[in-house]
């Protein structure tokens, strides 16, 4: 009891080991991110294939989107079926700001994020008090609302033809996004920074608050957590990263199309999460890569893409009942525990 009393009195026994450990994990994450960025940035010098770089850029756009969706689905247990609206919103806002105003790209980027924040806060305020399937529906309805607004507001968005005419890309501090290589490096940088920030969110005290809400929102409220506010916060934060994914996409295709805001984007996002697994941070990223590879190969082989994709989804949902990364982690844990047993 004396030891405990000493602790109660606030005298720390030994260094706060925990904080040191969690600090280390943060440095480790930064190191991994820098290494990943270095690898991605050297790809153009090793391979001359534009298809590969295209693939990486698309992975950046969809990876940010899917990982941000996992902050909602995997970490907080909020199954949004309309997360794709923020992907579309990012693409349209950014492209429109660039076309209409000609401000420097970073300004347009920040403005897009501000617009996303406001719209996500309004939509989120309505949606997050609903539970499970109602939440899924209402987010889906908002997605369709935004989609139909894009289709009907022809003078602004170009309607079903999409926003054409390209995106002007003034050079900013030597970065010229009309240069493909620059665009590639910027996309990779946005991906890595975005992932790093989301990782920080997931591993912060707030990240654990989200886990508590996912596990048992009622209990969380009885230990003093304002569940509504926490849900709204993560809804807006996730929207920002999805919007960033949309910005990359709009730069990649030089425009914006209504499909970016269609519900299928959200459906694919959910599926990517499922494919990669929602219990690991990088699961959605793995899922993105898998889905895009599958997309590219299957569409080349057959016109009945839906049948193939559907069967793959069924395999994961009914057969495995979990994502690929969930499987890997479980397998690793079983092996590790087995090794421990043997060591004894």
């Amino acid at each position: 009891m004396t030891e405990l009393q000493a602790e109660r009195a606030g005298k720390p026994l030994g260094v706060p080991r925990i904080e040191a450990k969690s600090q280390r994990s943060r440095y480790l994450d930064v190191l991994i991110a820098i290494a990943a960025f270095a690898v991605l940035a050297t790809l153009p010098f090793l391979f001359s294939s534009k298809a590969l770089l295209d693939f990486v850029i698309r992975c950046a756009a969809f990876g940010l989107f899917a990982t941000s969706l996992n902050l909602l689905v995997g970490y907080t247990g909020m199954i949004s079926f309309g997360h794709g609206m923020f992907f579309g919103l990012g693409a349209y806002s950014f492209a429109l700001i660039m076309q209409r105003t000609g401000v420097p790209i970073p300004v347009a980027f920040i403005c897009t994020l501000l617009i996303t924040t406001v719209i996500a806060a309004v939509i989120g305020a309505i949606c997050v008090r609903l539970k499970e399937i109602y939440f899924a529906f209402v987010t889906l309805a908002f997605q369709m609302l935004i989609h139909s607004m894009i289709l009907s507001w022809v003078s602004l968005t170009g309607g079903d033809q999409g926003l054409r005419g390209g995106i002007p890309r003034p050079v900013f501090l030597g970065v010229d996004l009309s240069n493909y290589l620059h665009l590639y490096v910027v996309s990779c940088a946005l991906l890595v920074i975005g992932l790093l920030l989301m990782r920080q969110i997931a591993q912060s005290p707030f990240g654990y608050t989200l886990r508590m809400i996912r596990d048992n929102a009622v209990r969380a409220s009885f230990i003093g957590i304002d569940v509504w506010r926490a849900k709204l916060t993560i809804f807006v934060l996730a929207a920002l990263f999805a919007s960033t994914g949309g910005i990359i996409m709009s730069l990649f295709v030089s425009g914006a199309y209504p499909e970016f805001a269609f519900w299928t984007i959200s459906g694919e996002g959910i599926f990517i999460n499922m494919l990669g697994g929602v219990t690991t941070f990088l699961g959605p990223m793995v899922g993105t890569v898998l889905l895009l590879i599958m997309n590219d190969t299957v569409t080349r082989l057959t016109e009945y893409y839906g049948i193939v994709l559907g069967i793959v989804i069924l395999f994961f949902a009914i057969g495995l009942r979990k994502g690929l990364m969930d499987f890997v982690v479980e397998w690793y844990e079983v092996r590790r525990d087995g090794a421990k047993e043997r060591a004894r």
Partner: protein, 300 residues
């Protein structure tokens, strides 16, 4: 936006009747799809995201049967029976495996089937628009009511839908089967403890839901063009209907469907490009005011 057209229409009885009936049949078709959705949700606690596919299959089955036999009645029967069987198989083989797991899995299985079914239809019937054509029995001059045009086929459609509503409502309230179904919705464990086969009930409810959607598709086939993916917009609309009406409520589905039908038909006059948007807007307003829908029960 064309508010003049809308106000002009509201002032003329002919236009009111024409738009009103067209809203009515949109609503009635939606009701048939939505009531299946709401029934399946009420009893199985599953949101059948692939429900639109049953509507689509109903339409295609009816078209093929009509082309082969030339009989309208047979076409309707094929549309309904075919989708009932499809629903039963779908539920027993696939959906029943994900009842225990979370909503995400259920959505994914349905999402998979949305993709598969659309492609299967494309594979069998081809990607282009098809049409069944109005059956000869209904190729008669339209009725004129209050100056508005009402095709006789519309009356049949409305009649069938109302009959279904009445039979379902009475069936659930009065018959033994209805009681069992309601009990299963309330407390599945208890019902199975009493020796009633819940699997059978679940399968039948799913088949019934599929059949109603298929019937809607079959009834719609003469007046709509058929295309793979036609189920999706109907699905979204019937979701809106069930959410507005309250999940699990038949009366709510009827009212919600009529409201959406009228919004669509009158909205297309006033806001030709934003008709869909109006619907979503209406849904958002209802949900903000009453999160469980007009007739939904408060969720604990």
């Amino acid at each position: 936006m064309d508010l003049d057209a809308l106000t002009g229409c509201l002032a003329s009885s002919a236009c009111l009747v024409t738009q009103g009936t067209s809203g009515f049949i949109i609503g009635m078709l939606l009701f048939l799809v939505a009531v299946g959705l709401t029934l399946i949700f009420g009893v199985l606690k599953v949101v059948n995201f692939s429900h639109g596919a049953f509507y689509m299959f109903g339409a295609y089955f009816a078209m093929t049967a009509y082309q082969l036999t030339g009989s309208f009645a047979l076409a309707m029967l094929c549309g309904a029976a075919g989708t009932a069987i499809l629903g039963l198989v779908f539920e027993r083989v696939f959906m029943s495996r994900v009842y225990g797991s979370d909503v995400l899995m259920q959505l994914l299985v349905c999402y998979a089937f949305v993709l598969i079914f659309d492609d299967v239809v494309r594979w069998i019937w081809g990607p282009e628009f098809k049409s069944m054509g109005m059956p000869t029995a209904f190729q008669v001059p339209p009725l004129f009511i209050g100056g508005g045009v009402v095709p006789p086929y519309y009356l049949l459609l409305i009649g069938v839908a109302l009959a279904v509503a009445a039979i379902l409502g009475l069936g659930l309230a009065r018959t033994r089967i209805g009681k069992v179904v309601r009990a299963a919705a309330h407390n599945p464990g208890m019902v199975s403890a009493l020796g009633i086969n819940t699997g059978l009930i679940y399968g039948s409810v799913f088949a019934l839901g599929g059949m109603l959607a298929g019937l809607a598709g079959a009834l719609a086939a003469p007046v709509r063009s058929l295309t793979p993916g036609m189920g999706f917009s109907v699905l979204i609309e019937s979701f809106i209907v069930t959410v507005i009406g309250g999940m699990g409520s038949i009366l709510g589905a009827l009212l919600g469907a009529l409201l959406i039908g009228l919004i669509r038909s009158f909205g297309s006059l006033g806001f030709p490009l934003f008709t869909d948007g109006l619907m979503y807007l209406f849904m958002v307003i209802v949900l903000v005011a009453r999160p469980t829908g007009l007739f939904g029960k408060e969720v604990a």
